[in-house]
Amino acid sequence: MPINRDYIGRSFPPTDPYEVSRVKIGEFADAIGDPNPVYHDRAAAQASGHPDVVAPPTFPIVFTMGDTGSALTSPDLGINFAMVVHGEQRFVYERPLYAGDTVVCESTITDIRSAGRNELLTVETEVKTVDGEHICTAYNSLVERAGAT
């Protein structure tokens, strides 16, 4: 079943604030197998000119993916999640994300279209601190396999 095109341009309310912690950054870095000290050790991060432990470049997926998921669960949108795979992902960074940042996400469905037998849906998520400082923008394209048939 095609995804409902009426949702193109639809924005979702800001998420609850997410606190970026040193422990979570360390856990994420361990999970991707990356021992870079700026992810694990505050003093090492500060020696490299950062205010605190740095989050790896793909860390924002921890809070943007969940946000995207919950924004897309409306039955009216018509996505069959059993058939969804990740198509593309991009992050454009204003500055690195640090332990101690508290961020909110605002997502907008920017595109829904068919590509062959599949349906593609793109969500753009602005990640800002609770004080309004822009940190990064995430672009997430999902593919619903055989959705166009």
Partner: protein, 141 residues
């Protein structure tokens, strides 16, 4: 917050050293926990096969994270990435007994102004590309 690589010392077309990164089932379990993505196609073989996959497959974001690590290992400082994007073009199948291996290569595709360069990355598993259009724009020293 400074890259260890100097803009003036980098040439367009220059290849970065290739790296390989191992991926085993335990890595996917850890990644599921750390990322919050518990889709069972990434850890339960019977489920993966029931939806037509050959076996458990890695999270696309795990593979992207390895490509990110490749870039940040070269740069020295992860804080100098300004843009990082990939297209997921192939599955990374992770068999129970032997796991798999990602082979990542990078080329300096373009030198922009303001100390920025674009790296084009290729990520292969068993010779097949699993990421395409993988690019990172980074600010060098």
């Amino acid at each position: 917050m400074t890259a260890q690589v100097k803009y003036d010392e980098v040439e367009e077309g220059a290849a970065l050293p290739a790296q390989t990164y191992k991926v085993d089932r335990v890595d996917l379990v850890k990644y599921a926990g750390a990322s919050g993505d518990f889709n069972p196609i990434h850890w339960r073989e019977s489920f993966a096969k029931s939806v037509g996959l050959p076996d458990v497959i890695a999270h696309g974001m795990f593979t992207m994270a390895q490509a990110g690590r490749y870039v940040t290992d070269w740069l020295g400082d992860p804080g100098v990435i300004v843009d990082f994007g990939v297209r997921f073009s192939g599955m990374v199948v992770v068999p129970d007994d032997v796991g798999n291996e990602l082979e990542i290569r990078g080329v300096v595709e373009k030198k922009l102004g303001d100390n920025l360069i674009v790296l084009a990355l290729t990520t292969r598993v068993q010779g097949e590309k699993v990421l395409t259009r993988a690019k990172a724009t980074v600010r060098l020293a």
